[in-house]
């Protein structure tokens, strides 16, 4: 059961002088089980798009289908709770949303809110915290005592504890240092591969898109510009230049090799395969 947008419009403050159409006629289908990147310039509609997935925003035209929930423009949507159980949304700077007195209690909040008993919630919370790399000794700490990166992990554990089928992350690595960002992305890969959770990531980081994602959705000025797999996306160098996207280092390097007469196959996307490809050319 995929995620489907059919002719979806979304307008902020409709009927007022501040009316602004943030999504225009979006037709989009996302397969389950994958890790998909949603990219585009600031203000292109990325966040607006993903906030439709758990009915935080409702379409002003068209229809959104998520699993077996249908959200239609102009109709009251009654399955908000079930939908939000299935779709976990992690906001930008999620660490600002922690509110309980201990880390463990914060993570228990979600499952208990969905009717899980306290004992079971604690068990689920413990496992979620370990999954995101928060050690036992921190469970009873106040979230305020933890670093920014750790707090963000606690917030993500809170979402995972609800056992969502779809995990939506809005710029989850913004403001983290490169190592912190990298290990955060590793975590999402683990969640995606081990638990089969569908992951959608809004990001500006092309290195992450290349290294971790299967597919890319490109937004521009509220419209869906492109939807494709990673290999095809990074093959189109001219397009990236035109769209003001700074390609990952390996793609830029391959383009420079090509200009100097050495063409490397499009499926070579990491440094070791690149070195092997160069070595093979030497032997010829």
């Amino acid at each position: 059961m995929p995620i489907r947008f059919e002719k979806v419009d979304f307008e902020y403050s409709p009927g007022t002088p501040f009316a602004f159409k943030a999504l225009k006629n979006i037709d989009l289908e996302l397969a389950m089980g994958k890790m998909t990147a949603i990219i585009g310039a600031t203000g292109s509609g990325k966040t607006t798009l993903v906030q439709h997935l758990n009915a935080l925003l409702l379409p002003t035209a068209g229809k959104v289908t998520v699993l077996d929930h249908e959200i239609k423009a102009g109709q009251k949507f009654t399955q908000v709770k079930e939908l939000r159980h299935n779709v976990g949304l992690v906001f930008q700077f999620a660490e600002y949303q922690l509110f309980e007195e201990t880390v463990l209690k914060d993570v228990c909040f979600g499952p208990m809110n969905f009717g899980v008993s306290e004992a079971d919630a604690i068990e689920i919370a413990r496992r979620s915290l370990l999954t995101v790399g928060i050690p036992e000794k921190s469970f009873e700490k106040s979230p305020l005592e933890m670093s920014g990166g750790q707090k963000r992990r606690v917030a993500i554990a809170g979402i995972l504890a609800m056992k969502p089928k779809i995990l939506v992350l809005d710029e989850p690595t913004a403001g983290l240092d490169p190592q912190g960002a990298e290990s955060m992305m590793e975590l999402f890969r683990k969640v995606n591969k081990n638990s089969g959770i569908t992951v959608l990531i809004v990001t500006h980081n092309m290195e992450h898109v290349l290294q971790y994602c299967d597919d890319v959705v490109v937004m521009e000025k509220g419209e869906l510009l492109m939807q494709t797999d990673i290999e095809t996306f990074f093959e189109n160098y001219e397009y990236m230049e035109k769209a003001n996207i700074n390609p990952p280092a390996i793609i830029r390097f391959k383009e420079l090799l090509k200009k100097n007469g050495l063409e490397i196959a499009s499926d070579v996307l990491d440094i070791d395969s690149l070195a092997s490809a160069v070595a093979r050319r030497c032997k010829k």
Binding site: A41, G175, G180, N246, A249, R252, F253, L262, D272, L274
Partner: protein, 277 residues
């Protein structure tokens, strides 16, 4: 004339008396250089920057800025020589318009009113913000706000500017804008730039690199000299540039290339190697 814009000797500082945040640090920053300061989070980079500006009071050691010892008495004069641009664009906008924001520092330094407009316009133009002079901060993007912060620092005619992760909260377009602007400002080498950064490509293009680890200086040198110490860099959880990773992978395949850092030249070199065979 001093050859060093900054001289630091035996500098120590603690937030908490039990832990030395900065532990007997000494280094020089040559005048007109582009120096990057790198290190893992919590290594003490930003603390060093704040000590240089006199925003924190050192426990021990000496700091000399443009030939002048940093003391409580001449703090005002020091602040006329060195300025800082911080990480968060929203935390450093003081005025209600771009014009007011740039004027703020000038007013503090008693620049006569009749000269002020000319100065403001000149530096707004330097950072490409002339058309926004009367705009409110809420109407500006993060990159534009950082431009204004830079203009405000430039208007003070500082000889040294510290950028404390000034692009880390910006989107890729904002990052590129600001990096290009800083590079342009440094072009004639009259300004000394100190950039605290995680951007490895910016580090590769700088003149000097200072690596900070656990409150101490772990390495100082040109980018090539620093990145040569791969094991040490790895032990401090610091990245090396993409081209050096390529170089290592090629070496394993028996292909040796020079220690060039410029990606274009590395590509040329690899192609020459392969196509000559």
């Amino acid at each position: 004339m001093y050859l060093n814009a900054i001289e630091v000797r035996n500098l120590s500082f603690s937030y908490d008396p039990r832990v030395r945040t900065i532990d007997h640090v000494s280094f020089d920053i040559p005048e007109g250089s582009y120096t990057t300061l790198i290190g893992h989070n919590g290594s003490g980079k930003s603390t060093i920057a704040k000590l240089l500006l006199g925003l924190l009071e050192r426990a021990e050691g000496e700091i000399r800025i443009d030939g002048l010892d940093l003391t409580l008495e001449n703090l005002r004069e020091i602040r006329g020589k060195i300025g800082i641009v911080f990480q968060n664009p929203d935390n450093q906008f003081i005025g209600s318009t771009v014009r007011d924001d740039i004027a703020f520092g000038l007013e503090n330094h008693c620049v006569p009113q009749e000269e002020m407009d000319g100065i403001i316009e000149k530096f707004a133009a330097r950072v490409n913000m002339t058309e926004f002079l009367n705009s409110e901060p809420t109407k500006l993007s993060g990159g534009q706000k950082q431009r204004v912060a830079i203009a405000a620092v430039l208007a003070m005619r500082h000889k040294i500017i510290v950028f404390d992760e000034a692009t880390s909260m910006l989107d890729p377009t904002g990052k590129r804008e600001i990096n290009a602007l800083i590079k342009g400002l440094h072009k004639d080498k009259r300004l000394t730039v100190i950039s605290i950064t995680h951007d490895i490509e910016e580090v590769a293009q700088s003149d000097n690199v200072i690596v900070v680890n656990k409150g101490q200086i772990a390495l100082v040198g040109t980018p090539k000299e620093v990145f040569r110490n791969e094991k040490l860099m790895e032990s401090m959880q610091l990245d090396i540039p993409f081209v050096y990773k390529v170089r290592n992978a090629l070496k394993k395949k028996g292909i040796r290339i020079s220690d060039e850092l410029d990606m274009e030249r590395v590509a040329e070199e690899v192609c020459q190697y392969v196509l000559k065979k």
